[in-house]
Amino acid sequence: MDHFARLGLPAALELDGAALDRAYFTAQRQWHPDRFVGRPAEERAQASTEAAGLNDAYRTLKDPLSRAVYLAGLNGIDLPGDGKTIDDPDLLMEAMETREELHEAATTDAVDALAARSRDEMTKALAGLGTLFLRHDKAAIRKALLRLRYLDKFAEEARARRTNLHREKA
């Protein structure tokens, strides 16, 4: 059963966050191991497996990027694992430039500005995914998702850089 079906939701790129929460809470009310205290071991094991499946589904679908990657996977578009080399020359160039900028950012404000720009880029790229999925343009979807994944990683690096600058100041 795929994650969408498990939560009784349509397999769509756009998901209403509140509807996802509702579906998840309703299902967890049924399957959470807390409901099975004192039941036979077999039932408890089943509940644990069901609840774990629900958690996996919820976690995957909650975040727009991981949801898009998952939906792409259902459509036969597989991305290379994390930490693999970037094979898109445009993205490679963008990554090198933004990394350089982050490295040179000497104040938390400068880092925040870079992080904000990266977030804007993510929002734009996520908004553009819908059209690509409609066109079923596998190559373009793959390219866009790899870029999004990079932007996401960049946000994490910016946060680390910010923490370091903050510590140095203190």
Partner: protein, 631 residues
């Protein structure tokens, strides 16, 4: 329809089946412990004859025999310091290598030889005792209190643990309950329990933070409360930061003052315990007044010590800043900012300090919620959960993993399988492969922590998957599955997918293998993220280069005859260059040497491919060949 039963006036009715299995909530704290019971959604802490709910988490084994717990044990500590122990929670699940985290903070006498592969043991009252059995004494005392207050046997409990407790500490807590004859219905994280007490009591909805600073641990959690659902969004903390550290700072200052006054002290266990006891008293005084003083006397030499609140606050400011840094990281993990938070709940005795209250309110921008006693709120929440689990309430607690779980891969790099803040229970798997041709076994090393390198994380368990049939490197598919249950406890299994060889283990924590104490792990991860990435890239370059060297060696052994003597000499020189680069610390040098070697071995690779094709074609008829091409 069945009729309702009414018993004779004055006669005690037979207990119902449900009542016979009353379950309590227990807050097993570093400094104090509390037991509580909830009935029909109303929790209450259970008091002793003098009306006190708090049981000091002190255990004593007096010379006269027997075991004392609580206030009596605390009093004995002054007279027979070697027979009493406090703050045992800080050693739950800890090995010898973890001890530096508490060394100097607490006067423990460690049993020599313990803690290398097992949990450390203490020498108390002339005997070696483990933190599990000492904690079990506290649990037994709480159980006895509950049975006396409720006049019923108590066999089941919800016990709280710091959200930031790792697998070893959780397992140790479970074991202690078992020793005390209690079945643990659920281990609940302390901040979650506190939120439960507030949420049910106040009917609150929205995003809430819990700031929990106890005697020895700090937790910060963000929860969403909505129609009976308590969803933890993110959690973080430090398992070795709390009021004990503040006591220690004051005690150290007093000992230094004595030294300055020319008192030559032999600072033994008794002296440290006395100084800590006075320090705690002075700390508590400073919550209500601007200055305080106290008198110390040991080895016949008295000394007087004064302390102002502002001096004390300066001494602990760095600790408080650290808690705020952790809180900021938890907010960022959840993708939230301080204005999103509707209220912050204060838990733990250390939140009575005015400085803590001011700082937390300043950070969140709202006054903190303190209307439930911060010493009791966790036990009250645990009691509510105990009732819900036995009586079938409608509350839903959705908690998360506090620390990432992963595996060691080549070069000592951590591959995270379950990221921190993943909702539990969870079952996640990842595929790994072999590194060398013909590899028949794989060492599975399970670690917990946020850092990129294994050496910086806590080692949880090691096991070996053996019997893998010999295959070329990278052909095997080893699936390693992680399962974390609703108590936050981990089980790991591994399976070779092409042959179905399976091995399953319950994680038995391997105490004392980690170099860092887990307290610093999450915090360090952000501080060191940049350095970690550099280190990771270096290690990856080394692993990749070694893999290429191995492949080339195998090829040379088989097809070395394809090379002329001078080509072989040049190739060997390039191999040696790469070996030297690998031994160094420069990633660019490794990549350059690897590239040079690759360029040099290209003709060799082409000749091997030619030979391979010729061999494949040899002995094939033209017909075979055509049918092949046609495929």
């Amino acid at each position: 329809m069945s009729l309702l039963e009414i018993h004779e006036p004055g006669e005690t009715p037979l207990p119902h089946a449900g009542e016979a299995s009353l379950a309590v909530g227990i807050d097993l704290g570093t400094t104090n412990s509390v037991v509580a019971i909830a009935r029909e959604g109303v929790p209450a802490a259970l008091h002793d004859e003098t009306g006190k709910a708090l049981v000091p988490s002190v255990v004593a084994y007096p010379d006269a025999g027997g075991v004392l717990v609580g206030e009596e044990a605390r009093l004995l500590m002054a007279r027979e310091p070697r027979n009493a122990v406090a703050s045992i929670k800080r050693l739950m699940g800890r090995g010898a290598a973890d001890l530096h985290a508490v060394a100097g903070i607490l006067p423990y006498e460690i049993e020599p030889g313990s803690g290398r592969t097992d949990m450390v043991k203490l020498r108390i009252g002339g005997k070696a005792r483990s933190p599990v059995e000492i904690s079990a004494e506290i649990l037994k005392a709480l159980r006895a209190r509950a049975e006396a207050a409720l006049d019923k046997p108590i066999e089941r409990a919800v016990i709280t643990v710091p959200a930031y407790f790792d697998d070893a500490a959780r397992t140790a807590t479970r074991d202690a309950a078992r020793v005390a004859g209690l079945e643990v219905l659920r281990l609940v994280n302390e901040p979650t329990a506190a939120a439960l007490a507030y949420g049910l009591d106040k009917g609150s909805e929205g995003l809430y933070a819990v700031y929990d600073l106890g005697g020895g641990t700090f937790d910060f959690s963000l929860l969403r409360l909505e129609k009976g659902v308590f969803q933890v969004l993110a959690t973080g903390g430090d398992a070795a930061l709390g009021g004990d550290d503040f006591d220690r700072a004051i005690a150290e200052r007093m000992l230094a003052e004595r030294k300055k006054d020319g008192i030559a002290d032999q600072v033994d266990e008794a002296a440290v315990k006395a100084a800590l006891a006075l320090a705690r008293h002075m700390k508590e005084q400073l919550s209500d007044r601007d200055q305080t003083s106290g008198r110390l006397e040991f080895a016949g030499a008295p000394s007087f010590h004064a302390l102002t609140r502002s001096d004390f606050e300066a001494m602990i400011a760095a600790h408080i800043e650290r808690t705020l840094d952790i809180a900021a990281n938890v907010l960022a993990d959840a993708g939230m900012t301080a204005p999103d938070v509707q209220g912050v709940v204060l838990v733990g005795g250390s939140t009575r300090l005015p400085l803590v209250r001011a700082k937390v309110a300043g950070m969140i921008g709202k006054p903190a919620l303190t209307d439930i006693d911060p010493d009791e709120v966790v036990a009250l929440g645990a009691a509510l959960q105990a009732e819900a689990l036995t009586g079938g309430g409608d509350t839903l607690l959705l908690d998360v993993t506090p620390l990432s779980l992963g595996l060691e891969t080549m070069g000592g790099i951590v591959e995270k399988v379950v990221p921190r803040n993943t909702p539990i229970p969870v079952q996640l798997a990842q595929d790994f492969t072999t590194y060398q041709d013909g590899q028949t076994a794989m060492a599975i090393h399970v670690v917990q922590g946020e850092r990129e390198m294994v050496a910086d994380c806590r080692s949880l368990a090691r096991f070996e998957l053996s019997g893998i049939p010999p295959m070329t490197a990278g052909a095997a598919r080893i699936r390693v599955s992680f399962a974390v249950d609703a108590d936050g406890l981990l089980a790991v299994s591994a399976e070779e997918r092409t042959t179905g060889i399976a091995q399953r283990i319950e994680v038995k924590p391997s105490y004392g293998l980690s170099h860092d104490d887990m307290a610093d792990m999450l915090y360090d991860s952000l501080e060191n993220a940049e350095a970690d990435v550099t280190q990771r890239l270096l290690v990856e370059a080394r692993v990749e280069a070694r893999r290429n060297l191995l492949a080339l060696e195998a090829a040379l052994a088989k097809d070395g005859s394809l090379l002329a003597a001078d080509e072989r000499v040049a190739l060997d020189a390039a191999r040696a260059e790469l070996e030297i680069a690998i031994a160094g610390e420069n990633r660019d040098a490794i990549n350059a040497a690897a590239e040079a070697l690759e360029g040099m071995s290209k003709p060799f690779a082409e000749r091997r491919m030619d030979r391979g094709i010729r061999e494949a074609l040899a002995g094939m008829s033209v017909g075979d060949l055509e049918s092949r091409v046609g495929e």
